[in-house]
Amino acid sequence: MTSLNVPMMDAALIAPLPSLHFDDVAFSHQGELLLGPCSFTLDGVGPTLVMGPNGAGKSLMLRLAHGLISPTQGSVSWSCGERPRQAMVFQQPVLLRRSALANLTHALAVNNTPRKARMPLAREALARFGLAARADTPARVLSGGEQQRLALARAWALSPSVLFLDEPTSALDPAATKAVEAAVQEFHQRGTRIVMTTHDLHQARRLAGDVLFLSGGKVREHTSAESFFNGPASSEAQAFMAGELIE
């Protein structure tokens, strides 16, 4: 566990992280407002942990940020102008019906990586996440923890500038959770902007550089991890921390 408590600020400063701007973003479905309107900027070194109770709009916010869905109002933009290279790790990893290795080479092929470079990159990523021995195993017969590590390896191979993670450990046991958290740290140290949702306070404490707190589809608070965990300013976050049921 010690490795998880190392300060995470240093390496991330090497490359400037693309910052993310939500400008008056809202999302409605069939006339019902599900998120926002909200405005915020993620320009710290992160990792940014998006917290809040179930149904707060965490996953929705992540999908809007990643561009999986478009906001019905407002705009999502990046400091670098264009869309930076980004990847997302889902709560339930979506893996192709192929070997672990083929899952990575497919992603690299889609990403226009030159053919010759795909195999070494894929093998390197598998090895990094402890899956070298599983390269030829069909991805969908891997254990839950291995599947999530494979999803992380796939993201790693794509060298994204931004990585979104949507409750990546909610279905995993403690050992697998620890491996995922270590992977998140590696991405962070490589200079990747991390935006991750969780409803696990302990996990947030271990990982967060800053915290974006949502409830009822609204951003209630965006502050450094230190001040958030020392005492959140918003009443919703205070109630959440106290383990109360909130709307």
């Binding site: 999908r63 990847a87 192709l96 192929r98 889609v110 069909p138």
Partner: protein, 233 residues
Amino acid sequence: MENNNALYVALSLVLNLDATLYQIVILSLQVSLLAVLVAAVIGFPLGAAVALWRFPGRGGAIIALNAMMGLPPVVAGLTVYMLLSRAGPLGEWGLLFTPSAMVIAQVVLVLPILAALSRQKVEELLGEYQEQFISLNMSRSRMMPTLLWDARFALLTILLAGFGRASAEVGAVMMVGGNIEGVTRVMTTAIVLETSKGDLPLALGLGIVLLTLVMLVNAGAYVVGELTKRRMG
């Protein structure tokens, strides 16, 4: 007793590799395999395209594909007959009463099955993969080969279903092939003819081969399905 005798003769025809019988079997296989191949090359991408793209009239296209799966073979035969007959639009090709005409008729029968069933399967997979695909920034045309490859085991089963339909069908090949001895006589048309002539041994022998073939195909489909479940999860 005569029927028992016919069965005996039939078995000896099959086991002694009777030349007439095997010529008919070989032609049947050639026609049906080629038809299924052509139908797959067109039908699978077509099914995947209908699954992937949203266009006006898409619902109607899906209903039409599904309905065409039950197309009566004689209607398919009639349509191809009219197209290929001397007076028809493709009459110049001179294909009527040739094996090519039979291939075309079977493609018409099998194509909707392959397209409709692969559409269902690909759409199901797309539902599962869509967010990951968008996350990987894949275009719809780039999704197609990925989906078809990931559906490969289901597609193989669908292919076998198509082959079963093609090889067991009699009406269409009778109409456009003409059941000409040594040229367009296939198993099903030969069985009809020999039975009406009263030559039960040849009819039965062909029936045995056809039945065996259909059973092998179904066994193949079952084994593929089971292996997939076990290996790919």
